[in-house]
C-alpha cells in the first residue's frame, strides 16, 4: 500500500475542495441571481475547463506554466520554486479543472430558491451576506454538497493532468491514481487491488461523513 500517494491524493482533493467551496458558493450565487451584461460570457468562461480534456489542460498548463513561460517565471521568482511538477501546480490545475463541477451544481441549487423567499429575507432586514448565510446557503446546501462531492471525487480520480504535468514524483506529484497505474504496469496486481480497495473504502467513508456532516451543518445553519 502506497500511503504516501494516498496521502497526497487526499491532500490534493482537500485543498481543491477547500479552495472551490467559497468560490462555488459566491460565484454560483452570483451567477444564479445577478443579471448583467456579459453574463453569458462569464458563464462560458466558467464552463471552459469543462470542455478541456485533462490532457489538453495538462498540455496547456505545461506550455503556459512551464519554466520558460512568463507565468512560470513570475511564479518561481515570487515563490522560489516552479509551478509545474509541484504540488502547488497540481492544486492550481485541479482547481481550474474542477471549476465547472463546483460551480454548476451550486448555481442550480441557488436558482431553485423561490424568489419570494429571498425577497422575504431582504424584507426581514437581512443584508446580502446574512441572507446568504441564513437563507440562501441552507436552501442551496444540497446543490453545494453535490458540487463538493463531485469535486472531491473528481480530484481523487484525476489522472491525465497529473500524468502530464506531475511527473509521478513520489510524495509530490505521484497521486494514488498514478500509483495504481504504476502497480498494474509492474504486474503487481495484488498491490493494485489493495490500493484500489483502500481508496474505495476511504472515499466511501469520506463521502458518507460529508453527507452526514452536511446534513448536520444544514440543520445548524437553519
Amino acid at each position: 500500500m502506497d500511503w504516501t500517494a494516498l496521502d497526497l491524493s487526499l491532500r490534493l482533493a482537500a485543498w481543491t475542495v477547500a479552495i472551490l467551496l467559497p468560490v462555488s458558493v459566491l460565484l454560483g450565487r452570483f451567477l444564479a441571481f445577478r443579471q448583467f451584461r456579459g453574463k453569458a460570457l462569464v458563464e462560458a468562461l466558467v464552463m471552459l475547463p469543462l470542455v478541456l480534456p485533462p490532457t489538453v489542460l495538462g498540455f496547456y498548463l505545461l506550455v503556459s506554466f512551464g519554466r520558460s513561460s512568463p507565468i512560470g517565471q513570475a511564479w518561481s521568482s515570487v515563490f522560489g520554486q516552479q509551478l509545474v511538477f509541484s504540488f502547488e501546480g497540481l492544486v492550481l490545475a485541479s482547481v481550474l479543472f474542477n471549476l465547472p463541477f463546483a460551480v454548476q451544481p451550486a448555481q442550480r441549487g441557488f436558482q431553485a430558491i423561490p424568489a419570494e423567499v429571498r425577497e422575504a429575507a431582504a424584507c426581514c432586514g437581512m443584508s446580502p451576506l446574512r441572507a446568504l448565510w441564513k437563507v440562501d446557503l441552507p436552501l442551496a446546501w444540497p446543490g453545494v454538497v453535490t458540487a463538493m462531492v463531485l469535486t472531491f471525487a473528481h480530484t481523487l480520480g484525476e489522472f491525465g493532468i497529473v500524468l502530464m504535468v506531475g511527473g509521478s514524483i513520489p510524495g509530490e506529484t505521484k497521486t494514488i491514481a498514478i500509483a495504481i497505474y504504476d502497480r498494474v504496469q509492474a504486474f503487481d496486481t495484488d498491490s493494485a487491488a489493495i490500493m484500489s480497495a483502500v481508496l474505495v473504502a476511504i472515499s466511501l467513508v469520506t463521502i458518507a461523513v460529508t453527507f452526514a456532516l452536511s446534513a448536520r451543518v444544514g440543520r445548524r445553519l437553519s
Binding site: G66, Q185, A186
Partner: protein
C-alpha cells in the same frame, strides 16, 4: 525522504532498476526515488523543467537531443543494449518463436484478435517492435489487431492480461520474476531492428546522491543485475 533525488527510468527497467536501487541503498545508505514511464514522456517533461536528476532512456537519441539543447550535464553514458522478445500468456493460441513464424501463420489463419506492442510514436521499444515486424513482413497485416501500450511495460501488461494473444515486449520484462511465470517468450533476432542503445545522463541540477547512483550503475554489482535481466552491457 523528499530530498532523495528522482530517477526517471524507461519502463523496460521497471524491475531491474528497482533491484539496483535497493542494492544501492543497502550498500551506501543513500536513497533515490524512482519514476517509471515512457522515455518520450520523460524527455518532454525534462524540457518543461521536471525536477529529475538522472534520466535513464530506452533510446539514446532522446538523451543526445536533450544534451544538444543544454538540459543535461554531458552526453551521459551508454549503460545497456535492450532486446525485444515476443511473449504470449499461458493458454494463448500462439506459440512464441524467434522468427515469428507462428505469429505469421496464426495471423494468416485469422486467429489473432489482439497483439500488443508499445506505442511506436514515442516509445523506443515500440519503434523497434515496428521495425522488427516490418522486417518479418507482417506489420501491415497485423496493424488492425494492434493494441498500443503507453510504454513498454503497459504493452507487457496488455500482452499478458489474457485479452491479447501476445505481444512484443522488452526482454528485461520477460525475465522479471513477476512476469516470467505468466507466459512463455522467445528472443527476436537482434538484427531485425536498429539496436536499442540505452543511454543515461545526469541532468543539470543533479546532486551528490544522484552522482553516486550514476556511478553505482557502472559498478559490477549493478551490471550483474542488469545482465540478469537480459541486457547486453556496453563493452561486452
Amino acid at each position: 525522504q523528499q530530498d532523495a533525488p528522482v530517477v526517471a527510468a524507461a519502463s523496460d527497467l521497471q524491475f531491474a532498476v528497482e533491484e539496483i536501487a535497493a542494492a544501492f541503498q543497502a550498500e551506501t545508505g543513500m536513497r533515490v526515488r524512482l519514476s517509471m514511464g515512457s522515455t518520450g514522456n520523460f524527455a518532454r517533461q525534462i524540457r518543461e523543467g521536471a525536477p529529475f536528476q538522472i534520466f535513464m532512456a530506452a533510446d539514446e537519441q532522446f538523451v543526445l537531443d536533450l544534451h544538444r539543447d543544454g538540459f543535461t550535464r554531458d552526453e551521459g553514458d551508454l549503460y545497456a543494449i535492450g532486446r525485444l522478445a515476443i511473449m504470449v500468456p499461458h493458454g494463448s493460441a500462439l506459440t512464441p518463436d524467434p522468427e515469428l513464424d507462428n505469429l505469421a501463420e496464426m495471423l494468416a489463419a485469422g486467429r489473432i484478435t489482439r497483439f500488443a506492442i508499445a506505442n511506436p510514436d514515442h516509445a523506443p521499444y515500440g519503434q523497434r517492435a515496428r521495425e522488427a515486424l516490418m522486417t518479418r513482413g507482417i506489420w501491415d497485416d497485423l496493424q488492425p489487431f494492434m493494441v498500443l501500450g503507453e510504454n513498454v511495460s503497459q504493452a507487457a501488461a496488455f500482452a499478458l492480461s489474457g485479452n491479447a494473444e501476445g505481444g512484443i515486449i522488452a526482454h528485461s520484462l520477460a525475465l522479471a520474476p513477476q512476469v516470467a511465470p505468466q507466459g512463455t517468450y522467445a528472443l527476436i533476432p537482434e538484427d531485425w531492428h536498429e539496436p536499442l542503445r540505452q543511454r543515461m545522463v545526469l541532468l543539470n541540477d543533479a546532486g551528490p546522491v544522484a552522482e553516486a547512483f550514476y556511478d553505482y550503475m557502472m559498478q559490477p554489482a549493478a551490471r550483474a543485475i542488469m545482465e540478469r535481466y537480459g541486457f547486453v552491457l556496453p563493452g561486452e
